[in-house]
């Protein structure tokens, strides 16, 4: 979907992004994670050409992104940033309609799309469509920011620490919403964050960056079990890596055949949650039930622990 080839960005003598290459899969969430100054934002901004690379190139569906004017490219790519960047003098509906207007959609289609998006993001159009951004709470503003980025149905959505300014509870909800939205629209998301927990929660693939270089690009579990170097291991967190690993597998995926008279757990719960539940109840095994509520297997503490290491 997106191929990043030998991207390098230098400002004078400083190399901000140093020869980075990787492929972003279609319909997935790729998280670029790194400390501040690691070049992760610059890398993201080179994808939609807000920053022009010094060398290397970006291919979108096989075509070089430099084959069309930058502003036309950007209209095809969703973009959401920290602090949401809403236009304070425009209503919520006008904000969301920004890119469709730039693309010259008919007014009827724009209105329908704005209404649809506000409903998806749980913002009652009757209440919020004509509100100004400052009349909304921080969480609502952030949702409008993401809705705006998705307005023109882009195949690719770039997000630069979009939830960085939210408090933990609202951030948790925002992450959940993003996972739902991504599944619903099949959008290819590239997401920048400095928060490793967020990266593990959202990412199908995680790219770890430091000092402009890509240290490792892998599935989250691989990052834990086979870190490329000591820095990646430290970034992913040594103290709770076993629990992080458990958090990446759901009960449904790990369920064994059979039944249990222990507590019932949902198949969508992570092994970390199931283990916590079993420890809390001093139980040895749990009954896994599917979305319809029917039992679909069992999990034992021993089986869970067996998955808590490489």
């Amino acid at each position: 979907m997106i191929r990043i080839e030998n991207l390098t960005k230098q400002y004078d003598a400083t190399t901000v992004v140093d020869d980075v290459s990787f492929d972003v899969e279609r319909n997935s969430i790729t998280v670029i994670v790194g400390t501040s100054g690691s070049g992760k934002s610059t890398l993201l901004r080179m994808i939609n050409r807000l920053v022009e690379p010094t060398s290397g190139r970006v291919l979108l569906d096989g075509a070089d992104t430099r084959s069309e004017p930058a502003h036309l490219l950007r209209r095809r790519i969703g973009y959401a940033i920290q602090g949401n960047g809403l236009f304070p003098h425009r209503t919520v509906a006008e904000n969301v309609a920004t890119v469709p207007r730039l693309l010259g959609w008919p007014e009827e289609r724009i209105r329908a799309r704005v209404t649809e998006l506000l409903e998806i993001f749980q913002l009652d159009p009757a209440l919020y469509a004509s509100a100004l951004p400052h009349q909304l709470s921080g969480g609502q503003q952030q949702r409008v920011g993401v809705a705006r980025a998705l307005a023109a149905e882009p195949a690719v959505l770039l997000m630069d620490e979009p939830f960085g300014a939210l408090d933990p509870i609202i951030r948790d909800k925002a992450q959940e919403d993003l996972l739902d939205i991504q599944r619903r629209f099949g959008t290819t998301v590239v997401f920048v964050t400095h928060d490793m927990d967020e990266a593990f929660r959202l990412g199908h693939r995680i790219a770890v960056m430091s000092q402009g270089r890509l240290l490792q690009y892998d599935r989250p579990a691989t990052l834990l079990t086979h870190p490329a170097d000591a820095f990646v291991a430290r970034m992913t967190g040594l103290s709770d890596r076993a629990l992080k690993l458990l958090a990446l597998t759901t009960a449904g995926e790990a369920a064994l055949p059979g039944s249990s008279d222990g507590p019932r757990v949902a198949s969508s719960a992570s092994l970390r949650e199931v283990l916590s539940e079993l420890l809390w109840r001093r139980a040895d095994s749990a009954l896994v039930s599917g979305e319809d509520g029917a039992p679909c297997g069992r999990l034992t503490v021993a089986a869970i622990l067996a998955r808590a290491h490489p």
Binding site: Y79, L86, P88, V99, L102
Partner: protein, 395 residues
């Protein structure tokens, strides 16, 4: 009594205004009578110029105002009292002028005396203070201004003040007054528009190219420090030379003296506030909003016209307000070099020692500057309510 009375606190401003008004009414003439335009005036006290009932009624209204000024905290009642006082004062002065003028006599001059002026200023301060306390919204302030202007205009139109000396001067100069008023507005507005046409792009350029900012703003700052008269003088030589060499320029009315140097000088003075406030306004625009706009595919021009300029507008308007009020005042001096405008009456009046003629020029200048200031302030506040960052922080 069981009920504790609220502690009566005497209003300090009210005390000052009451003292000033009372002292003026006792010690200063109410009107000044001149048997013709040139002779020195004779003072006339209130009881000499009004029938007893009218004088007593007028004093009763003033006493009522003093009571309100001293003891009432409610802004609405203070404003109502002050405005009523001003109306009654105006009517009393007009009545005094009518009473002192022999029928058919166009030669005597009756002007408001010191007491009238002090009372007007005191009541005006009381009204301003009341408006400040009421904190009316932008629309309410504009409506209040419009109402005041309509009432004053109507009173002038039906001839309420025709026997006052200023209006006598007006009657003599009516044709010229109209022409000079229009010229005044044209000079002030034209130089503002020219400054906008040049200043806005310069401000945008300064914002886009930060290296240009210090030299450009520095140069404009230096221009700002040149006294107006000196600048007129400096411009005389080059403009005169231009007119002499280029007949087309002369045909356009460009000369060493007259309107041309006045407009050029006002234009130069106007540039700094416009350019500086454009830069400040653009810098105030949230970096995230610009970043998001670019990231969503707006071109540079679209970002400027749809995001940056609308968000910078309240600050740019502040610059326009400064320039307009400053220009309305400074055009007055343009009369010195033959630029015309209401200043013509001011300097003619000074030359002839005819204070009424000075007032004929000065009063409309003050009214114009004040009205422009109120109108633009209201506009800025109305815009700022929707766009300001502080509004966002409050929510």
């Amino acid at each position: 009594m069981a009920i504790t009375a609220p502690r009566q606190r005497v209003d300090r401003l009210g005390l000052l205004l009451t003292a000033a008004g009372a002292a003026a009414l006792i010690g200063l003439p109410f009107v000044v009578f001149k048997s013709n335009r040139i002779v020195p005036g004779e003072p006339r006290a209130l009881h000499e110029v009004l029938p007893l009932w009218a004088a007593l009624g007028f004093q009763a209204v003033l006493l009522g105002d003093a009571a309100v000024a001293l003891g009432v905290a409610d802004g609405r009642r203070r404003l109502a009292a002050a405005l009523a006082g001003i109306v009654v004062l105006a009517l009393a002065v007009a009545a005094a002028a009518n009473g002192l003028t022999p029928p058919g006599n166009k030669v005597v001059r009756i002007a408001p005396g010191g007491a009238s002026w002090v009372l007007l200023v005191s009541l005006g301060l009381m009204a301003t203070d009341a408006i400040t306390r009421l904190r009316p919204g932008p629309l309410a302030r504009v409506l209040l201004l419009a109402l005041t202007l309509v009432i004053a205009g109507a009173a002038l139109a039906i001839g309420t003040f025709d026997n006052l000396s200023v209006m006598r001067e007006y009657a003599v100069n009516a044709g010229r007054f109209r022409a000079e008023l229009l010229r005044h507005l044209w000079l002030a507005g034209g130089s503002l528009i020219a400054a906008l046409i040049v200043g806005l792009p310069l401000g945008i350029l300064c914002h886009r190219v930060p290296r240009l900012r210090p030299p450009l703003l520095g140069t404009l700052n230096v221009v700002q420090t040149i006294p107006a008269i000196a600048l007129f003088g400096i411009l005389m030589a080059p403009l005169g030379a231009l007119a002499a060499r280029v007949p087309a320029a002369a045909a356009l009315g460009i000369r060493g003296i007259g309107a041309a140097p006045a407009v050029v000088a006002l234009f130069l003075y106007s540039l700094l506030p416009i350019v500086a406030d454009t830069v400040v306004g653009l810098r105030r625009v949230s970096h995230e909003a610009v970043e998001a706009a670019l990231g969503m595919g707006m071109t540079d021009n679209q970002v400027l016209s749809r995001i940056e300029l609308p968000l910078a507008l309240p600050v740019i308007l502040t610059g326009i307000r400064v320039v307009l009020v400053q220009n309305i005042g400074m055009v007055t001096i343009a009369a010195l070099i033959g630029g015309g405008g209401l200043g013509t009456f001011v300097f003619q009046g000074i030359g002839q020692n005819a204070i009424d003629l000075v007032l004929l020029g000065a009063i409309p200048i003050v009214v114009l500057a004040f009205s422009a200031s109120v109108l633009l302030d209201a506009l800025i506040e109305a815009l700022d309510r929707t766009t300001s960052v502080s509004a966002g922080a409050r929510a």
